[in-house]
């Protein structure tokens, strides 16, 4: 089998058969992993044609309690220290792949939507939106902020809101969190919401916290 140098490098990291990989004479297990790696790359390219992807590593399921392989990848257009992850599982001879990259596509739209729901009375410093679920190619075209935020597409919304404590005067922090919860409920937003109140807008997000609370909607 013909393998690219990148494929050889990835496989060498997850297989003991260095000689087989170098010569292209793969054993059955490595051949399956190679097929899965290629399928994952093809899946990502097809689902997100505007981006260029590179598989950077793999944690195979063998020896773990998982029933799927985790493929680590990066998108060349996005500067990020951590890799993205795609999950590949074999079902009835077919490889099913799900990914976390869709979050990159809709993050900005979702963040803007949340900002408008909260309105100007909440002194927002930053909003971080993430999604717990890995979604497959069935959601390639129809993802939009409204469907995701309202749970019509079950993405596992995780919303972190950092507030400027110096802008919250004359009210308890608990009341601010309550107000956020009510705004989200009224707008039909579902998900896990984590509110952190910082000393002021220039505060360090880790060191200068006044208050934090989780709400589950």
């Amino acid at each position: 089998m013909e393998l690219t140098s990148e494929e050889k490098k990835i496989l060498s990291g997850i297989s003991f058969d260095a000689e087989g990989i170098e010569s292209g004479e793969l054993n059955e297990a490595d051949e399956k992993l190679l097929m899965e790696m290629r399928a994952t790359l093809a899946y990502l390219k097809e689902k997100y044609p505007e981006y260029n992807f590179e598989i950077t590593g793999c944690e195979p399921k063998s020896g773990t309690a998982r029933d799927y392989d985790e493929w680590y990848y990066k998108a060349l257009e996005i500067v990020r220290e951590s890799a993205f992850i795609a999950m590949a599982v074999e079902k009835d001879g077919q490889i099913e792949i799900r990914d976390d990259f869709y979050g990159e596509i809709i993050r900005e739209e979702v963040t803007d939507k949340i900002r408008s729901i909260l309105g100007p009375s909440i002194p927002v410093v930053k909003i971080d939106v993430s999604f717990w679920e890995y979604l497959g190619k069935e959601y390639s075209g129809e993802l939009n902020a409204d469907k995701v935020l309202k749970g019509k597409i079950s993405a596992g919304n995780d919303i972190k809101i950092f507030l400027d404590g110096s802008g919250i005067l004359g009210t308890e922090y608990e009341n601010v969190v309550k107000k956020i919860e009510e705004s989200f409920k009224k707008a039909g937003v579902i998900g896990d919401v984590y509110v952190v109140i910082l000393k002021d807008k220039d505060s360090d997000f880790t060191k200068d916290r006044l208050y934090s609370e989780s709400i589950y909607i």
């Binding site: 260095a18 020896g63 309690a65």
Partner: protein
């Protein structure tokens, strides 16, 4: 040690690293989505869905949902641990490692805590054993690069920790980066002789910061030469995986009736592991550097199959064409070692037995030792060999095992040939220290004569004596 974390807290953090999908995807601790939350937020969030965590299901290798709930409940009353903030989660994006790690921040003491997870998959062993022939390994270097990219401004103390391969990475970083104040390696493997020699100065400078937390029967820490202070702890785990669970991160956790967790110091390392450690060290030292990669891959494959308790796969690995030479050398080494250190071989036998391996395979060692000459003469004719063995009333379990694995005969012949050339006492098996003198690194210069040579010498002596006697008789007559 200047860390404000207790050893219990360090071990709990290392257990959190393995939490995956507890009650759903939110139950994964090492997810970038957890960034900015505190450990307390994570624990409360997971326990909120405790009903979704299945008690009997394994959520990471060897650790069940019930055990994870116990771990999380024990964190709940610990306000110090709960206040620690998950600052950054990292998925390795270069190289093929796929390792995960986390940068935590303790706001009470301005302490940065960088923790590395050991990968759980079988592939972990590829990197674990690559330390035998690569200095440093790609994954060690990746970990160091990421550590170098972290912003520690405002942190008064920097502590690194990790379990298994993560423990090795944390030791590596401590050796290479003088900024680290404390290192708590948990069941992490050591470094090769070549590494110890290459970085002797760095090790001397920083080894005082390293503390190794080790389960008394853990089998990963014994790989290669350890660096830093060591403390062994009692182990608790003998679940589905049996002996292999000694390496699980929760193996050292004891819970009282109130759910509080504690560690219990052991008197020392399990004797079996101590023996195995020395034998592995001396064996690795006996292998030339250019053959080490093959030997390392063989060892990795053997450990992976031994962990799974699959006798057939283990035999296939030994008989595999690409490993056969290294496998023969390893087995011949063990068998020769048996002459000098019979207790050690008993230790190996006990470990394999505990993992449910076929007793037929265990008897093969004795078989080769007892039939060394026969094997080298007619071992290439398996059917004839089996016929002779049956005639000699060899135990049924051995003959039936060999009948099932005829491809093993090629390996057995090779072993019997290699046994003649191996001196198991040539290389010292004790861990190498950076402070050691250069010439104590390798060879135990004992004069050694193999059993075959001893017999040959005895025959020559007898022959010479007979000749002298005959000459003397002739002269007398």
């Amino acid at each position: 040690m200047s860390s404000n974390l207790t050893l219990e807290e360090i071990v709990l953090i290392n257990n959190l690293l393995y939490c995956e999908n507890l009650g759903g995807p939110r139950g994964t601790f090492l997810s970038t989505i957890q960034e900015s939350r505190t450990i307390g937020d994570y624990v409360n969030g997971v326990l909120r869905n405790a009903a979704q965590i299945e008690n009997d299901r394994e959520y990471s290798t060897g650790v069940t949902g019930a055990e994870y709930k116990e771990i999380l409940w024990s964190i709940r009353p610990n306000q110090h641990l709960k206040n620690i903030i998950i600052k950054e989660v990292h998925y390795e994006s270069e190289g093929a490692g796929g390792g995960r790690s986390v940068f935590l921040f303790d706001p009470e003491y301005n302490e940065a805590i960088v923790a590395f997870k050991g990968t759980q998959s079988d592939a972990e062993w590829i990197d674990n054993v690559s330390g035998l022939y690569v200095v440093p390994t790609e994954y060690q270097q990746n970990a160091l690069n990421w550590f170098g990219s972290l912003d520690f401004s405002g942190c008064d103390i920097i502590t690194v920790t990790g379990h298994s391969k993560g423990g090795n990475k944390s030791k590596f970083i401590t050796i290479m980066d003088d900024r680290v104040d404390n290192c708590f390696s948990f069941d992490g493997q050591g470094f090769s002789d070549e590494f110890i020699r290459k970085y002797a100065d760095e090790i001397r400078n920083n080894q005082g910061k390293i503390f190794n937390i080790i389960a008394e029967s853990d089998f990963v820490n014994i790989l290669l030469n350890d660096v830093g202070q060591k403390q062994f702890y009692l182990g608790t785990n003998f679940g589905r995986l049996g002996f292999a669970e000694n390496h699980c991160a929760n193996a050292v956790l004891f819970f009282d009736s109130c759910g509080s967790m504690s560690l219990w110091k052991a008197k020392g390392q399990d004797k079996k592991m101590m023996d195995l450690d020395k034998m592995l060290n001396s064996f690795i030292r006996s292998c030339r550097m250019e053959t080490r990669e093959n030997v390392a891959n063989l060892l990795g494959s053997v450990i992976v199959n031994a962990k799974s308790g699959d006798t057939d796969k283990l035999v296939d690995t030994f008989a595999d064409e690409k490993y056969i030479d290294s496998a023969a050398k390893l087995i011949a080494y063990i068998l020769k070692y048996k002459y000098e250190k019979p207790v050690m071989v008993e230790s190996v036998r006990e470990i394999l037995n505990q993992n449910g391996f076929s007793t037929g395979m265990l008897g093969i060692g004795d078989f080769v030792t007892n039939h060394e000459l026969l094997l080298s003469l007619i071992g290439s004719h398996p059917k004839l060999m089996l016929w002779i063995l049956k005639k000699k009333n060899t135990p049924e379990n051995i003959t039936s095992f060999l009948s099932k694995h005829m491809d093993l005969f090629g390996l057995l012949v090779l072993i019997s040939k290699k046994m003649r050339r191996i001196n198991p006492l040539r290389y010292n098996g004790t861990d190498l220290c950076a402070d050691d003198e250069d010439d104590s690194f390798f060879i135990n210069k004992t004069f050694y004569i193999s059993r075959r040579k001893k017999i040959l010498l005895a025959l020559i002596v007898v022959a010479v004596l007979i000749v002298i006697y005959l000459i003397f008789r002739m002269k007398v007559n």
